[in-house]
Amino acid sequence: MKDRKTTHFGYQEVPVEEKAGRVAEVFHSVASRYDVMNDLMSGGIHRLWKRFTIELSGARPGQQILDIAGGTGDLTARFSRIVGASGQVVLADINASMLEVGRDRLIDRGIAGNVVPVQADAQHLPFPDNTFDCITIAFGLRNVTDKDLALRDMLRVLKAGGRLLVLEFSKPQSRLLEKIYDQYSFRLLPLMGKLVANDADSYRYLAESIRRHPNQETLKQMMVEAGFVECEFHNMTGGIVALHRGIKP
């Protein structure tokens, strides 16, 4: 038992094989209220973060896009409009509940035809090598058990010259903002989770998992080590969120 490999689940250490299941429970629990909570927690700013992500993706009509951890399909909807009928967007999520909510929501908005929902694990993507022009993973990487493995697999399925964009919570750049953000994350966020989604624990996990996620420079280095080139990041909202971009050589 002593040699059993562990990983973090928020502030807890759990056996590696358990993390995916625990994360899945969180997202099963929040799936139906995910969008409402996103708007509430970020004050709607998550739409601006995603807008900037789309811009940096450089997506064009006819391209193949993979939206990993696509959840309720925010990015997929926008990519679907950009790539048009000649392109394709794969909405991938490991969590069936999130994928179902995303797929239904897209169909309700009339977005279909060039969108394919796929239940997939970011560490073992079920696609051939060199398939996609662009891969995005928004607020998903911190939930992946082995991030290095996931980054390497993303590199594998990207075409040469393709882009990976990682939008994720990160480390605020000012001490004052960090303190305010801590108070917000650990006091207000679980309270909002309790009131709106009747699930304080999932939102406590959200705050903890953000603190355990690699900071800007570390994630950039991880991307370099996975094989990406021209890696860079853009801090947004004072570093609360960072957008990393790397290119497959």
Partner: protein
């Protein structure tokens, strides 16, 4: 605006404003469709902002990054660019506006913007009803045309008041007559000077003989 969040917010607000306005002018939307896929880059110098207006179908997208080709790039102050797009007599050189790439897109956009006719009553009617919206629209149109007529007349009226009423400057006719007299005096002086030089030369020759 170094944080991309603020810039994304600005772009979103501008994009929403443009497309909401276009929603109430179907003719302009129809004229934008043939320009699908073209991109206009704006390099504003005052305020210093760079943005891209991408035309897609009958919508306009505002972006801060554009990896694809730019059809036309124009640079200058925001006021100059607005004047260039709206004023048929304005020329880029006179306004200090630089243009690179295809000038066709710019010419087409100028034409579209000059004919822009947004039906503001439609969104207002959705809020307050048809009759109040029409009444408000009529009052606003009247006020707008009064303001526009007065603004056009303002420079001439101000000049008249300063010279005729306050007599701070001479009236234009008097000033023009004065300028003519001055020019005539100047010519007469030059002629006199030439005559004096001629006489001086004649006297000098006689003294030498």
């Amino acid at each position: 605006m170094s944080d991309p969040t603020f810039r994304a917010g600005f772009d979103l607000a501008l994009e929403t404003a443009i497309n909401t306005a276009l929603q109430y002018d179907p003719a302009t939307r129809a004229r934008l469709q043939p320009l699908d896929g073209r991109t206009l880059a704006l390099d504003l110098t005052a305020p210093q902002i760079q943005c891209y207006l991408c035309l897609a179908g009958d919508r306009v997208y505002v972006r801060q990054q554009e990896d694809g080709g730019v059809t036309t790039r124009i640079g200058g102050s925001a006021i100059s660019l607005v004047r260039l797009l709206k004023d048929p007599d304005a020329t880029p050189a006179a306004l200090g506006v630089s243009i690179s790439g295809s000038s066709t897109l710019l010419a087409e956009l100028q034409e579209i913007l000059r004919d822009l006719d947004i039906d503001w009553e439609a969104p207002l009617a959705q809020l307050v009803g048809d009759i109040p919206a029409h009444t408000i629209g009529t009052v606003l149109r009247g006020a707008s045309s009064w303001l526009s007529a007065n603004l056009n007349r303002a420079p001439a009226a101000a000049a008249e008041t300063i010279s005729e009423e306050w007599q701070l400057t001479p009236p234009q006719a008097q000033f023009e007559a004065f300028v003519e007299d001055l020019a005539e005096l100047s010519l007469a002086t030059e002629r006199l000077e030439a005559r004096v030089h001629l006489l001086q030369a004649q006297f000098a020759r006689r003294e030498a003989e």
